[in-house]
């Protein structure tokens, strides 16, 4: 059940009470900054910087000795992932806030982005302590995952003298999971991988089915009036030149010139290869058609370029005319 306006206002008022407050007492690192943990981190990351690993080499750097990789900052105070186990009995302010939202239907959570800043390098022997504050909560946003609130925390890292050594912001989305269409389910149950989606196919009616039937057979047709021989695209039931309803077709050579185009990047519909280069092509027969250019980099597309049309077949068997850059004549 969606919340009523009043319920939502009540929820938002409760949420606002968390903003600007620490989630609890500062976390102090269980171990001081130390060489074995630095070595394990560097092994995992594939980092071979001697300033982190080789005491002799490090001694001759500006650091004058071993230092820890700055990106390890948070690792010194981490102790397992306990957001999940804290759900039923929240241990800190952040868990209380997440439970509040979860209890109101905002059960989903996803990390969206994080930023870190470093004030100084940490050295073996430093003791790191982290204090986290709920920095801000957004207004309710509609996202692809569902309606939700972005929660930003700011953590300040300090050393044994209370001096700041760095900071981190971390943002999560707490959301009401949107209902997914059944077609989006990926587990078919029989172990077979689901077929990748195809592009949207045209519905076939009286005025266009014949055209697509010809394309199915590998032909690229242009409608032609049997009365006055005028060409038309898209096909129509009557010729606007002579008002004949006796319509036929001719086969396009595929030779054309790019009249205009757009490189479509957003939103990305399933079944298409993005970015899509959508093209308005002037066929040498004299009509235009909307299609796509493939086998061409977006930056190489230019109005006026010569194109060569052909019947393309998708992985699912759907056929449609497409264009690629024409090869210069030998």
């Amino acid at each position: 059940m969606p919340l009523t306006k009043e319920q939502k206002q009540e929820l938002e008022a409760k949420m606002r009470e968390f903003v600007g407050k620490p989630i609890g007492a500062p976390d102090v690192g269980r171990d001081a900054v130390n060489e074995p943990m630095i070595r394990q981190w560097c092994d995992a990351m594939g980092d071979t910087n001697p300033a982190y690993l080789d005491p002799d080499a490090a001694a001759s750097t500006v650091h004058g000795g071993l230092v820890a990789p700055p990106t390890m900052m948070q690792a010194w105070t981490m102790h397992g992932f306990d957001m999940a186990k804290g759900y039923d009995e929240p241990q800190d302010g952040q868990q209380h806030l997440h439970k509040l939202l979860g209890d109101h239907g905002y059960t989903g959570v996803v990390g969206t982005d994080t930023k870190q800043g470093y004030t100084r390098y940490l050295r073996p022997g430093d003791v790191v302590c982290a204090e986290t504050v709920i920095e801000s909560i957004s207004e309710e946003k509609a996202t692809h995952l569902g309606l939700g609130y972005f929660i930003t925390t700011r953590t300040t890292f300090r050393d044994q003298d209370g001096e700041e050594v760095g900071w981190m912001t971390f943002r999560v989305l707490k959301y009401v999971p949107a209902e997914r269409p059944a077609a989006a389910a990926t587990d078919s149950g029989d172990g077979a991988a689901p077929a990748p989606p195809g592009r949207i196919r045209p519905p076939r009616g009286h005025d266009n089915a014949w055209w697509w039937d010809l394309v199915d057979q590998g032909t690229f047709p242009i409608q032609q009036c049997n009365g006055c021989k005028a060409l038309h695209h898209p096909p129509r039931p009557m010729c606007n030149a002579c008002r004949s309803m006796d319509m036929g077709w001719v086969e396009a050579s595929g030779a054309g010139t790019l009249y205009s185009f757009t490189i479509i990047r957003h939103p990305q519909f399933p079944g298409y290869d993005f970015p899509v280069i959508a093209a308005l092509v002037e066929l040498e027969e004299g009509t235009r058609i909307v299609s796509s250019v493939i086998d061409c980099k977006p930056e190489d597309v230019k109005i006026g370029m010569k194109l060569s049309g052909f019947i393309h077949e998708d992985h699912d068997g759907f056929k449609l005319p497409m264009f690629r850059p024409a090869r210069p004549a030998a």
Partner: protein
């Protein structure tokens, strides 16, 4: 001499909901709120309303609004197709009804949950074979499914033909945003936009970037229109309709008129301009300010050319140097437009046109004798010139 539509009607009431991204209420609730506020603004008895007009796209039936608001017997009701192109078309219907005596007080309305409900950016698709769907099927298989993708195709050609640059499109986005910053009803209230932010924003469909595209909004707007004689007895200061017209032009398609010899212009808007100038007896020099339909930045350039504010291909120069901001030659979209205030299919632009005539805009232009308001383009469209009561 048949009746012309010159000075036959005046907008006397304007009502709107708040504009949000998630209204939490039905589209009918939005429509009813907007209509009720417009009736109150006009200071008339709801029972006086005897005409209704909206978009074919609007899901709210006139009879349902009438029952909810408590308007009574109606003698005229009508719907106009083609999305935002209907925006002034609904006013055109009202003025025709008033000029012929088919109605005395007409309500024009549009309400939608454009962000939390059906979003236009979700594209067009479906499984019922209609002529409309056959039309879109000449584009969908090749990836053209959204308004941005259709308009991008025209924009690319226009830029190629006349040398317009991204910086020129940006002038439209930046100027409307500058206006929205002062409008508390605008989504982008107090949120300015810089050229760098505009340029760095992601591509939607090249050459259109994020801020070349309007928003999606939940909200509703309604206006009450009556005859100039009755307008004198209304509470709200009237905005007289000097001229109003609809048009579609030869070889028009819905958003995809890509087969005309020239696609870097708007023949249907040229035809609207010709009519509204003829009906009103006014010309581009007489227009002090305008609400130019801005679903995308580029379509504003073509309309400035269609209405003769500059020559064909020269809108890129016209929009420079603050020319389309308050204090410039032609302040446009002083509410922030659909790019920066809200996307209510242009009907929020009618409300702003009336506010400018009344002297009540949050970015009030100094001169406000005549204000042009246009409908959506790429589709069959519409436009009108508002003026002061004599």
């Amino acid at each position: 001499m048949p009746t012309t539509l010159r000075n036959e009607a005046a907008i006397v009431g304007v009502g709107q909901t708040t504009f949000t991204k998630n209204s939490g209420v039905s589209e009918l609730a939005l429509a009813v709120e907007a209509v009720s506020k417009a009736i109150d603004d006009a200071g008339i008895d709801p029972q006086d309303v005897d005409g209704y007009c909206s978009f074919t796209l609007d899901t709210n039936d006139e009879v349902d609004i009438s029952r909810a608001v408590g308007t009574g017997d109606a003698t005229m009701f009508s719907r106009i197709g083609y999305g935002g192109g209907a925006c002034i078309g609904i006013v055109h219907q009202a003025v025709m009804a008033l000029a012929t005596g088919s109605a005395k007080y007409v309500v024009c309305y549009r309400a939608l949950n454009g962000r939390s409900g059906q979003r236009y950016s979700d594209g067009v698709s479906g499984d019922i074979v209609t002529a409309d769907l056959i039309h879109w099927s000449w584009y969908m298989p090749w990836g053209l499914m959204t308004p941005a993708s259709w308009v991008a195709m025209f924009t690319q050609r226009y830029m190629h033909q006349y040398g317009a640059k991204a910086e020129d499109l940006a002038q439209v986005a930046l100027s409307t945003r500058k206006h929205a910053v002062n409008n508390p009803n605008a989504f982008f209230y107090q949120r300015p936009l810089t050229m760098d932010e505009y340029m760095e924003a992601r591509w939607i469909a090249e050459p259109l970037r994020l801020y070349d595209c309007c928003q999606e909004t939940d909200g509703g707007v309604a206006v009450v229109i009556t005859t100039p004689e009755r307008a004198k007895d209304c509470k709200g200061k009237p905005a007289v309709i000097r001229g109003v017209a609809q048009a579609f032009a030869t070889d028009q398609e819905q958003m995809t008129s890509l087969y005309r010899e020239d696609i870097a212009s708007l023949p249907e808007m040229n035809l609207v301009a010709k009519q509204v100038y003829e009906i009103s007896g006014l010309g581009p020099k007489d227009i002090d300010a305008a609400v130019i339909y801005d679903a995308f930045t580029s379509i504003v350039l073509w309309q400035l050319e269609a209405f003769g504010f500059c020559d064909v291909g020269e809108a890129k120069d016209f929009v420079k140097d603050g020319n389309i901001e308050v204090g410039g030659r032609l302040p446009i979209n002083t509410h922030g437009g659909q790019l920066s205030e809200a996307y209510i299919h242009g009907v929020n632009g009618i409300a702003e046109g009336v506010r400018m005539i009344r002297g009540e805009s949050t970015n009030q232009p100094q001169n406000n004798d005549h204000v042009l308001v246009t409908g959506g383009v790429g589709v069959p469209t519409s436009g009108m010139i508002l003026g002061q009561m004599d």
